[in-house]
Symmetry: C2
Subunit: 493 residues, 2 copies
C-alpha cells in the first residue's frame, strides 16, 4: 500500500489500440485469391478421395435397436444412459403475437457449449483456412467441408487426458494464436433448446502439421465452394459469418455487386443509424412475450411415437428418428443415435434492395421456441413451404421469393444443417432482389432493412443473428466477381 | 417485377452515416455544467418540498395481512390474485465451479420487460435530463431521484387507454425523439429470475410540459448528486450508465483523473484489444456450466417461513417480508406487497489501476443464479461481508477494498437498489486504487482489466455488464474535477 498511481515501481505493461491494424484487408486479399496451396480442381480430387477412404454408412433403425439410448420411464424423454450427449424432450411455447400463439413440440436439449473453430495461417502472404473433410450421419452426401474443429465441451475439456480432437490446442491452449473472432452463437431455435456454440477464428504463425483429412484453402476458394449444394457444412458457414467485415477487393462488374461491396464496408452509411437499429431490435425483443417451458416428451400433445419415429399427427414439421452409423475408418467404429428429420426442404432467403447505392437486406425479428431470448434476426423468409400447405396463413414474402425470375435471384444454393443432429435437413438459401412493390421501404412490423456490415457488427455478439441468417451472411460475403459467374451454370428444382 | 436495382422509379431514401454527428460532445458539455435551469441548491429545496408533499409511510405487516397476495396451494409460491405484478418462487442452482456448487433460494419472477427512460432536451444549448422525485416503499429515505419513466409493460401498453405513466409517449409513441440509448439490461441476478428492463435515453426538441414531481437537471448536477448517499435511485443509475462514452471536458487536476479521462475516451488504447476482451468473456461464459431451475417455494430447503418473513435457517442472505404502504398524495392510495430485505449492507467496488496512463477497472465474470446466461461482468467485489462471517471462504479482493486507506478511495457512496422490490437494500459503492501487490496485472481466473470506455461499449448490448457494475460505471462517469472535491467532505461508517 505504499505506491501511488504515479509511483508504480513495476515496468508499465503496454497499452495497445483497441482495434489494432485491421485484419480486414488481409481477409479481403484471401477472398480475392482463387487458388492457394492447392488449386480448386485439386481440392475436388482430394475431397472425393477422402470420401472414398471414409466407408461410412447410415441406416434407419427402430428406436428399440438404439444402443445406450432409451425412453426414460415417467417422462418418455429420449436419453442416453451416460447422461451425456443430448436428450430429446418436450417443449410448450406460448406467445402473445402472431398466428400461432401456442404449440407443443419435441426439442433437443444439449446444454454443453461446443467449439466450432477455424484455424487460419498465412502462406506466401495469403491467409489460408484449415478445413476438414468430415462425415456426419445426417449430411446429404455424408461428407462435407467442416471447420478445423467441431468439438463438444466433453471432448475439449478432456484434451489434457488425450483425445482425438485434432488441432483443439490452437483454440483453448495457453499458446493459442491471435483471435480474429470468438463469440457464442445460437443454433436452430426450432429444434434446439437454448443451444449455443462458441464460434472461433484463430490465426497462427508457426508450423501446423497437416492431417490427411484436412486442407488449407483461401477464402476465395471457400467462397466458390459456398456456391455448390451441400458441400460447405453449417458449422463452417456460421464460423465464416463471424469474420470481421471486409470489403471485396475486386472491382464490381455490375450495380448489384457494387451495392453489395458498399454494404459490406463499415464506413458506408445505412438507412438506420446503428443506435436506431439496436433500438428497433430492443423494441422487437420487448414487444414479444414468449414463454417456453420444457415438458416431458410423453406429454407433448399432437405428436405420436411409433416404433421408428415420433411425428406430428398432422404430418408436418419433422420426425424424431433413429439411425445406425457404420464408420469404416480406423479411429471410430459404429454407433447409434437419434436424429431430427424435417418433413421437407426449407427456404431461407433475404430479399435485398439497394438504397442510395447501398445494398440492404430485409431482416425479420423471429420468435423460435428454443431461443434463449425471444427473438433473433432471421432471413426475410425462413420456412418449409410444405408445412403451410392447406393452411390459411402463408409466411410473409414467401411468394415474392419463390416467384422471383432468374434475373432477380443473385444467390441460390442448397445447404445442409448440422449433420450430427439433423437428418437431411436442407434449406434452399436465396438472395433475391426486390422492388418497392414486393418489399417496401417501410416494411411490416417485425421486419427491418439492414446493411451487410451492420449484420457483421451484430454477429460480434451472441443472440442477435440466427443460424440461418448467418449462413446467408456468409453467402453475401462469398459473392464477388470471381464467384459470381458460377451462378449462371446451375439450374434448380 | 419490372424495375431493377438501377431503375427504381421511387425517390431514393436517404442513407445516413451509421454513427451521425456524435452526441458525446454535447453530453460532455452537460457534464461540465454545474448549474442549469435551477441551481443545485434550489434542487435540494425543491426535492425536500416534494418529500413533504408526499406523505408516504411504509409499515411491516405479517403475510396474512397482505391484500390480493397469497401463498399458492401446492407450490407455496407467493402470488398475486390477478396473476400480474410478480411472484416469489424457488430456485435451485448448480454450477461446476467455485466454492458454492449448489444452492436453493427464493427468487422473484417478473417476466414483464419494463421501460426505464430518461428524457433529455437542450435548454440554452445545454442538455438537461428530466428527473423525477419518486417515492418507493423499499427506498432508504423513501424519496429518491428517478428517471423520467419507470413503467412495467402492463403500464405502458395500456397508454392508449389512458394511464398515469407520465411522459411515456416520448419513449414508445410514434413521434418519439432521437434515441441516444435503448438496450435491454439485466437486473439483480441474485434476487430476480431472468429479469431485464429496457434502458432508454431519448432526446426531444419540442416543448415538454413540466409536472410538479419532475425537474430538469444538467448531467453535471446529477453527477454531483451521485456522490450523495441514497439519493439517485438504481433505475436512474442504470440508465445513466447507458450514456454514450464521453470524455470529460474539464482539465484533470491529478494523475488519477487524467487516467480516468483517458479511460473514458473511446480512442484510447487498452490492455486488451476489443476482440480479445470479447474472447475472454466468451471463454468465461463457456467455462461455466450453470443450471438454474425454478422450483416451488415450499420446496426450498434451508429456508423457513413464519408469520412475517421467509428467511434462511443460517440467518444469512435476505428475507422475504411484507409491507403496507400508505400513500397520501392524490393519485394513488395504499397497497400491500412483498419485498426482499437483505440481512445486511453489501459492498460493490472496483479496484482500479492505471496502465500506460489509462485507468483500468478489474471486472469479475460473475455467476448469479437469476442471470439469463451464466455470467455477466460484475464489480471486483460484490458481496455482503456479513454473509461470510464464520465461513472459511472470503470473497476475493474484499480485504483489499475494505482495508484501503482514504488516499486510495476515490469514490465512496451508499446507494439503494430497486425500491419497488427490495427493502433497504443498500450497497456501499467504492472506487479504490490498487497496486500490483493488491491487484496484479495478471489477475486470477474470472477477473480481467478493462477500460471505462470498453465497459461503455459493452453496455450498448444486454447481458454483458450487471446492474451493480453499471452503477459503478455511472459513478466513474460522474467523477470529474467539479464533483471531486465533494469526496473530501464525507466520513463513512
Amino acid at each position: 500500500m505504499s505506491s501511488t498511481l504515479t509511483e508504480l515501481t513495476l515496468p508499465q505493461p503496454t497499452v495497445q489500440p483497441r482495434e489494432p491494424d485491421s485484419v480486414a484487408d488481409r481477409i479481403a486479399a484471401s477472398a480475392a485469391a482463387t487458388a492457394g496451396r492447392m488449386t480448386t480442381d485439386a481440392f475436388h480430387d482430394w475431397f472425393a478421395a477422402r470420401g472414398r477412404a471414409g466407408r461410412f454408412s447410415v441406416e434407419r433403425i427402430p428406436f428399440s435397436q438404439l444402443r445406450g439410448w432409451s425412453f426414460e420411464p415417467g417422462t418418455g424423454n429420449l436419453v442416453h444412459a451416460s447422461g451425456r450427449f443430448f436428450s430429446v424432450e418436450g417443449l410448450h411455447v406460448t406467445t402473445d403475437q402472431g398466428p400461432h400463439r401456442e404449440w407443443f413440440q419435441p426439442i433437443i436439449k444439449q446444454p454443453e457449449v461446443g467449439i466450432l473453430g477455424i484455424l487460419v495461417k498465412e502462406f506466401d502472404g495469403v491467409l489460408h483456412f484449415l478445413m476438414q473433410a468430415k462425415m456426419e450421419p445426417g449430411n446429404r452426401n455424408l461428407l462435407q467441408l467442416s471447420p478445423t474443429v467441431q468439438a463438444t465441451r466433453s471432448n475439449y475439456t478432456k484434451v489434457h487426458k488425450g483425445t482425438d480432437v485434432k488441432y483443439i490446442q490452437y483454440f483453448n491452449g495457453p499458446d493459442r494464436g491471435r483471435i480474429l473472432a470468438d463469440v457464442l452463437q445460437s443454433e436452430h431455435g426450432s429444434w434446439f433448446f437454448h443451444k449455443s456454440n462458441r464460434n472461433m477464428i484463430v490465426e497462427v504463425t508457426g508450423d501446423v502439421p497437416l492431417d490427411e483429412d484436412f486442407c488449407w484453402l483461401t477464402l476465395g476458394q471457400i467462397n466458390e465452394l459456398m456456391h455448390r449444394d451441400n458441400l460447405v457444412n453449417m458449422d463452417s458457414r456460421t464460423v465464416l459469418a463471424c469474420l470481421p467485415a471486409h470489403r471485396p477487393q475486386l472491382p464490381a462488374p455490375d450495380a448489384f455487386l457494387s451495392a453489395l461491396a458498399r454494404s459490406r464496408d463499415p464506413e458506408t452509411g445505412a438507412l438506420l443509424t446503428d443506435v436506431d437499429l439496436l433500438s428497433w431490435f430492443t423494441a422487437e425483443r420487448s414487444r414479444h412475450d414468449v414463454r417456453a417451458e420444457r415438458i416431458p416428451l410423453s406429454e407433448v400433445p399432437g405428436w405420436t411415437r411409433d416404433e421408428t419415429r415420433i411425428g406430428s399427427d398432422d404430418d408436418r414439421w419433422f420426425d424424431v428418428v433413429a439411425v445406425e452409423v457404420q464408420a469404416g475408418n480406423r479411429e471410430v467404429t459404429g454407433w447409434t443415435q437419434p436424429l431430427i428429420e424435417p418433413r421437407s426442404r426449407g427456404v431461407a432467403a433475404f430479399l435485398v434492395r439497394s438504397f442510395g447505392g447501398v445494398l440492404h437486406v430485409l431482416a425479420n425479428a423471429k420468435v423460435e421456441g428454443g431461443f434463449l431470448d425471444t427473438v433473433e434476426l432471421a432471413p426475410t423468409v425462413q420456412a418449409s413451404p410444405d408445412n403451410f400447405a392447406g393452411l390459411s396463413v402463408d409466411p410473409p414474402f414467401l411468394d415474392e421469393v419463390l416467384s422471383a425470375g432468374p434475373d432477380r435471384v443473385r444467390y441460390d444454393a442448397i445447404h445442409s444443417e448440422e449433420g450430427g443432429r439433423f437428418l437431411h435437413a436442407e434449406n434452399r438459401y436465396l438472395i433475391v432482389e426486390a422492388d418497392e412493390a414486393e418489399a417496401p421501404l417501410l416494411p411490416p412490423a417485425g421486419f427491418q432493412w439492414v446493411t451487410v456490415s451492420q449484420l457483421s457488427e451484430l454477429v460480434k455478439h451472441g443472440h442477435y443473428v440466427n443460424v440461418q441468417a448467418r449462413t446467408l451472411l456468409a453467402c453475401l460475403n462469398a459473392m464477388s466477381a470471381s464467384t459470381y459467374d458460377f451462378m449462371g451454370t446451375r439450374a434448380h428444382d
